[in-house]
Amino acid sequence: MNSVLPDLVVSLVFIGYAMVMLLSFGGLLTWVERKQSAVMADRVGANRAYIRIPFTNIKLVWLGLFHGMADGLKMLLKENFKPKTHDAVGYFLAPFIVFTPVLLVFAVVPFGGTVIPGQLIPALAGWFGDRAYPMQIANLDAGLLVVFAFSSLGIIGAMLAGWASDNKFSLLGGLRAGSQMISYELVMGLTVLGLILVYGTVNLGDIVRQQSGTIGGVLPAWGIFYQPVAAFLFLTAAIAENKRIPFDLPEAESELIAGYFTEYSAMKLGLFMFSEFIQIAVVGALFATLFLGGYNLPFMTDAGFSLPGGTEIALSQAVRVPLQLVTFLGKVALLCVIQIQIRWTLPRFRYDQMLGLSWKMLLPLSLANLAVTVVWMWLAGGGQ
């Protein structure tokens, strides 16, 4: 039997799913952000854009969901204005360098358990045989390392955009972006090190599978219960990585107009915005994977539920796969909402405070967390 073609088809399906999921998250989050901030502030929020059914007077408003579409269309149709003295190559490349790594990070994040297409859809059994695929675009052993490798590429794009625009505000924004992202990436890496010690692997699929157990038979064995400090530090650093309020120093509009993308317009600006929103979803996905048991509900494995009381509930694959997909989406959506809530609650740091927080607070804390984890693991391993 030909073995390459089924693998290719499954990979393409997974890639398609991931792309659609990320892009629709990016589009929807613009709406969620508007509506959530409005509800928080006793306002109504975006509710004007509509689609009129042709030849009728019926206008579909749908709670302003079409504002995202209207924005995208506006971005596409606007003039692509360039400053006279920009650096053509850097200016052209920067939005893509910012946007692409955000999508690439998701390649190693598992969004569902193992799927056996031959059993799920009997019609395809002859073609797929009993091959099993983890629902993940790339099942890499270096999963977490790939995440960090790609997410650190975003700095280059931000700094390049700041430099190539040939604008002082952009340059300042790029500088700020560089120093901020490097500082917080250090914190992020150090916090995750503790987690790697606990799980003993950097393969994200393995990390999720290890979280299906229980701690002491009661708590689900989620990373957030093993490493609560790390979870908090990771979320803080991830929001800072994403350059959103309260860490939006690189684009502080009251100081730098729009920071490193001041001189961008039309869809290039749209790409910066869009990558920011997609990164919210990616941060949510990473946080869910590392700390909240990924695609599994508590006490759930690929075989089914094994509740603390000793009850076992077996799940057939036709139930389990959609359940896992929906669980993952739900966790990501919840984390996105939390991030947006933080963004609309806290005021912006001063620049020195922001760097001070990273180097004087979060870095020592993450080092302490790592040290405690090391000692704890050493003691748990019998002190050898």
Binding site: V39, M40, D42, R43, V44, Q341, T345, L346
Partner: protein
């Protein structure tokens, strides 16, 4: 470049640097004097100028943060609890079919609680026969700071008491500032302002004119200060007129 401007720029820029230099000196001297650690003589800047370090100004009412507040995280959580509480409260209202916002969805929705003295849409009062009380004297148009009132007057020979009347009376609401000066200026109590807002939402500023017909739809029509037809008033000559006659 204008030579005058050049002249003006050159000394002032020199002056600025000079002032800032002197300022630093003075600041350093003041600081030294205040702390009593030996004031630096301002006359010998070259020898040993103490490094003037930037210090943020301390205000007399500078808030003192407690340790709890300095820890930052509890206060962050407190803030998040407040915003999340409001979010959940409003979301609960929306989900149960009530309105979770204090804003009004204008123009589909209108506030019912305009203050009775709100200066909104203009109205023209009417005489009992339905003709406007306005005598087209143009005082409102003259006093209007935004110059939005346009009046075209006509002559009515059949009404000797009010021979002038408005043929056209239009207000451009795209520019009206709702100051109420027209109401103040009117000698005839012919123009007033209602508490309601003019419903002139439009994409086009030329559609934001309100015509006389719309302003004459106000009820009750009888509520005017001046009776009509006017009571015959005996002619009384004022003191000034008499004095003037005497001279």
């Amino acid at each position: 470049m204008n030579p005058m401007v050049k002249d003006r720029v050159a000394p002032s820029s020199a002056g600025v640097t000079g002032v800032s230099f002197g300022d630093n000196e003075r600041l350093a001297a003041q600081k030294g004097g205040a702390t009593g650690q030996g004031a630096v003589p301002a006359a010998s800047p070259a020898k040993s100028r103490p490094p003037v370090r930037y210090a943020r100004k301390q205000y007399w009412n500078e808030p003192e943060m407690t340790l709890w507040e300095k820890a930052y995280l509890p206060e962050v959580l407190k803030g998040l609890a407040i915003t999340t509480g409001i979010f959940l409260r409003n979301m609960g209202k929306w989900l149960t079919g009530r309105k979770g916002a204090v804003t009004t969805y204008y123009p589909e929705e209108r506030r019912a609680d305009y203050a009775p003295r709100n200066r909104g849409k203009h109205i023209l009062t009417q005489r009992p026969d339905g003709s406007p009380q306005c005598i087209a004297c143009n005082m409102c148009a003259t006093v209007c700071p935004a110059k939005v009132i346009e009046i075209e007057s006509g002559f009515d020979p059949n009404d000797p008491a009010h021979p002038k009347y408005p043929v056209r009376f239009e207000i451009d609401y795209s520019r009206c500032v709702f100051c109420g000066m027209c109401v103040e200026a009117c000698p005839e109590d012919a123009i007033r302002m209602q508490d309601d807002v003019p419903n002139l939402v439009s994409d086009d500023r030329y559609n934001m004119w309100m015509t006389m017909d719309e302003m004459l739809t106000w009820n009750p029509q009888q509520d005017v200060a001046k009776p009509y037809p006017p009571k015959p008033v005996p002619l009384v000559l004022g003191e000034s007129v008499k004095r003037g006659r005497g001279q």
